[in-house]
Symmetry: C2
Subunit: 334 residues, 2 copies
């Protein structure tokens, strides 16, 4: 038998209201009774039932996190930050990995609604009209992480992908490279796909470097395999390539791998810059120069924003986090 507030009240010879008041620091009890009650609580090993509390307070002290792919290291960093702040606020996070599956996502949203979660963090995926409408009906605060909504005013936290891609390409150019190729991820990806390609193009144009279609290849995703396939294709259609901008660190590792197999030395013959600054970037050979996003902090900020809306229900402003080039050894300085 689990013990409830009633048991405590009875044993302490007070009413449940008094116990509740003591538990919640609401005025209306004497120090003396507090002592007695606390002692009884200790003796009985009583813990309040959060569910019953939630029923009244209409707060579940839980937030939902929707991520497309749990196993990606990107997500891990986000989640780590989210978890920090959530716990700091006496709440917990339910991670839902949607696998970029619309149906699954809707299912999760339903589940989250039933669970009466207090807020949502929606990460790294396009907020479709369906999702938006559903969330709107739920009347629950939502913050986008590393993604945006074109059609609706939903607060977000992200970096400027195009700008970051520009910086990466610019870095290659500034180091003397001219024949620069790019391996993008999924072109359809509205956040990490086209914008990064655009940033690349923008930098090439700015520096008056010719840039044909052959210099850009984009695959299905942002994984290692996409990198190896991508680079094989790239070097075939653009053999003069001397530097490549990869839209993710995993892609970058893929090209390093192929380069190694083909006997192309990195960075002597081929320079590579990645994107994400995952922990594996420093483990690679050579250590990978890459674009860093403050992933954990972004997760933290997004979560703070959610709690800001919940607690003060004020509207919050979106944030663009700064990116940075972290220089390691995969780019040759000509």
């Amino acid at each position: 038998m689990t013990i409830t507030i009633k048991d405590v009240a009875k044993k302490a010879n007070v009413s449940i209201a008094t116990v509740s008041r003591i538990l919640n620091d609401k005025p209306g009890y004497s120090e003396e009774t507090k002592k007695k009650v606390m002692q009884v609580i200790e003796e009985l090993g009583y813990h309040p039932n959060g569910i019953a509390r939630g029923l009244i307070s209409k707060r579940s002290h839980t937030i939902g996190v929707l991520v497309p792919k749990l196993s990606s290291m990107l997500m891990t960093e986000f989640v780590s930050g989210i978890e920090n702040i959530t716990h700091q606020n006496g709440s917990s996070a339910i991670i839902c990995h949607t696998e970029s599956n619309g149906k699954k996502t809707m299912q999760y949203l339903q589940l989250l609604k039933e669970k009466q979660i207090d807020g949502i963090i929606f990460a790294s995926e396009l907020l479709t009209e369906d999702y938006y409408q559903f969330v709107k009906k739920m009347e629950i605060p939502i913050v986008l992480l590393s993604t945006i909504s074109y059609d609706h005013p939903v607060p977000y936290v992200r970096v400027d992908d195009q700008h970051a891609a520009y910086s990466a390409t610019d870095y290659l150019i500034k180091n003397g490279h001219k024949n620069i190729g790019m391996i993008g991820g999924n072109k359809e990806d509205m956040v990490a796909g086209q914008p990064r390609i655009d940033g690349y193009l923008q930098a090439m144009e700015k520096h008056n470097l010719s840039c044909t279609d052959k210099q850009i290849v984009s695959g299905h995703g942002f994984g290692f395999e996409d990198g190896v396939d991508g680079f094989r294709k790239l070097i075939e259609q653009f053999p003069e390539v001397t530097a490549v901008f990869a839209a993710s660190d995993e892609i970058a590792l893929g090209v390093i791998s192929v380069a190694y197999q083909m006997g192309i030395k990195v960075p002597e013959q081929l320079s590579i810059i990645g994107y994400d600054n995952l922990s594996l970037a420093e483990m690679s050979i050579p250590p990978l120069t890459t674009v860093a996003q403050p992933l954990k902090q972004m997760g933290e900020k997004a979560t703070e924003m959610v709690f800001d809306i919940i607690n003060n229900n004020k509207t919050v402003e979106s944030r663009i986090f700064p990116h940075a080039i972290v220089e390691r050894d995969s780019v040759r300085k000509i």
Copy 2:
């Protein structure tokens, strides 16, 4: 205003009991009224309140997952499996990363208790007496993942670390290596620390290979840095080394990195076998031969076991999952 079962009942001209019966497929209603009620539910966009449900059913449809380090790729695989099964059972998982911090762990356990979670998965860390007693008082099913409890009968899912380490070392020996070093992780780690060292020793002994203290170094953890520090130390005190067994893939990458810096060729001059088979093992140069644990399946099984206890409250048997050597290119066959 959120709409409740009352609103549905009123609009459909039935009692809340009937609505509830329809929602839960309990007998006691006609097809006709069902149709009407369902229609009203649709119109109103009603979703039952899981909290109120939980208050009665005494099930929160939530399980707690305690992991020491979220950002490790190991954990990600576990969590991914856990999440799968949890969702399959109409529940969700709350991930708590304890950072191997006793105080934080206890805090989380408290939180989970208040949340009235239905079960616990405790991963990759020693179940201390404190934890055990607390969980026991909670009277909640718990399953250990990749760890064990020496003093108490708590069901677990793991691989036989000593055996796996034996296999790895044996693999090196069978491929003609004799001067085999080992870089262990944290020796204090009762699961991944000493047992792997023991397995290594066991294999060496079995094949009558001398093995001095100098051949084994163990650091603070299982990360990349531990690998680089470890190998630097190893090669100093045991320069004849021709093959090393690393207690984790990250450690293995660390030694590959140092080897590269020192101009030692892998696998020509130095063979390396890792442990874990993380995704980065295939991204490394050369691709890393390693010991594979079916991480995701282990997470899934552990979760299934939790639900087994919850639903049928039968006792479950612990499982030892098979490990396997996945051969890539980091070990030279002499």
